[in-house]
Every structure is written in structure tokens, then in C-alpha cells.
Symmetry: C2
Subunit: 151 residues, 2 copies
């Protein structure tokens, strides 16, 4: 299996935030308590709190504490990609353990630690990774909101 429910729940939360932001007259500043989203989608609130914390640290959402507090998107839905959400929750995207992306952007295979010893399967996993990242980067929150903003 691939992405855990972290990614699933996280994207759902983000979509819900985007949907509610679109509902309100002024798109900005629509604060939604997490409990509402948890109930709406049938997800465990206490667990969502963990995920939302990561989304906040990644700068994807803002929060307001206290009574009438809650969460809101940090940016317009069109400017938030699924890749950012998934990466914030699951960590760096890699199709398989031995493949990762080094700081300079290159794809690295841990089986190639011996110099000169190339990994014949690296090409495959690199292609798969590229395909996944492409699909995630090519999808924004706005693409996923049920009733698109009629603006």
C-alpha cells in the first residue's frame, strides 16, 4: 500500500476548508472549528488534531485559538497543491524505501552506496516517483472542491 490515512484525512480536511472558504461571501478569514469537519466527514477529532498540526507547521493553514476559533487556508485554494499537503503529512514522497530525493534535488538510491555499483531498478522507481509527484503537483485544492467557486 502507499499513502496512509494521514494523507487521506489531511486532504479531506483541506478540501473541506477550501469548500467553506468558498461558501462565505468574503473568501478570506472563514474560520472553521476542527470538530465540525471531523463530524462532517466522520473522522476522529483527536487524530485529526495531529495531522492539522503538521499542516500548520508546513504553512498550509492558519489557526485562531479560543472560542470561535478554528482553522482556515493560509492561501487561496488555487495556490495549494496536493503535493504540498501529502508531503507535509507523509514526509518526502518516495515510491520505495531505497529511493529518496537528496537536498540538491537528485534522486538517490541507497543501494548504490558502493560507487560504480549501479542499481538496475533505479530507473523504474525514478519514473514512478516522477509520475506520482507530477499528478500531485498538477492538482490543486480548487480542483477538488465539490461545487467550484462561481466567480
Amino acid at each position: 500500500m502507499m499513502f496512509s490515512t494521514k494523507a487521506e484525512y489531511g486532504v479531506r480536511v483541506m478540501v473541506e476548508l477550501a469548500r467553506r472558504a468558498g461558501e462565505s461571501a468574503d473568501g478570506a478569514g472563514h474560520v472553521v472549528p476542527l470538530a465540525e469537519i471531523a463530524e462532517h466527514d466522520g473522522m476522529p477529532l483527536a487524530y485529526l488534531e495531529h495531522l492539522v498540526a503538521r499542516l500548520r507547521k508546513a504553512g498550509l493553514i492558519d489557526s485562531r485559538r479560543g472560542s470561535r476559533g478554528g482553522y482556515m487556508l493560509a492561501r487561496p485554494a488555487e495556490q495549494i497543491t496536493a503535493a504540498e499537503i501529502v508531503e507535509a503529512l507523509e514526509g518526502s514522497i518516495a515510491p520505495i524505501e531505497c529511493i529518496s530525493q537528496s537536498p540538491d534535488g537528485a534522486i538517490v538510491c541507497s543501494r548504490e552506496s558502493d560507487p560504480g555499483h549501479i542499481c538496475p531498478t533505479k530507473l523504474l522507481w525514478t519514473k514512478v516517483r516522477f509520475a506520482i509527484v507530477g499528478a500531485l503537483q498538477g492538482t490543486t485544492l480548487a480542483d477538488l472542491v465539490p461545487s467550484p467557486v462561481t466567480a
Copy 2:
């Protein structure tokens, strides 16, 4: 993370079988004992046996028992895709638990069990699945063999 070492090891075994088949003068019938591959790639033999059993049941490799026995590709390397290998080992390819492919080929989201209740994130996971499957189906064993058959 996404694919387990099952997929990784399995692909490596298949690549090794393809490589050895290409080495021998007559491409067909080159039987390789599993222990040789295990040692060559530094993978645990006993564990590989489990994976290889799946590959055989999926019809991707043939086996010969007894002394001087071993495994060989059931088809030419150009006709075996990475998708087949991964699917044989990991089961049906799905980026996330709630998404699966029904027998008739349609993509199904388990969260949509209530009719009329659509899942806003289904589009995303469908795209990701499509991208993964495309990358896997677009790669054959022949693409992965280190020194291509000079024929």
C-alpha cells in the same frame, strides 16, 4: 511510504533473470538457481522464496525442480511489464486504502458507499493511481537490464 521491499526484491530478481537469459547464447531456457541471485544481490534467500512463489503463480516465471534446477522468465523480457511484477507481489495497485479497482475496471472509493455521497478526493487518488500504473506499465524488464541485449 508506498511499495514494500517485496516489490523491490521482486523486480531485482526478475531483472537478474532477464540479464542472465540475455547472456546465454540461446536466450531461452537459461535456468538460474535462486541462491545465486540471492547472493549476487545480497537478499535473504528464504525470503525470496516466498516472493518467487507469487511470481510463479502469476505466470511470470517458470521453474525447474531438482538438481541443476532454478527459475527462468516465462516470457521474453520485452513482454513483461513492471506493472505485472508489482501487482503479483503487492496485490492490486492502489495509492490509498479507500481506492480500489472493481472487476469491471472502474475505480471505486469505499467512502462512496452511500449512493449520492460523492468523495471530493476521489479525483486526486484516481489521477495518482493512473500515473503510477502508467509508469509501471510503460516499463518492461528489457528496459531495466543493465547491458542491453546486443542483437
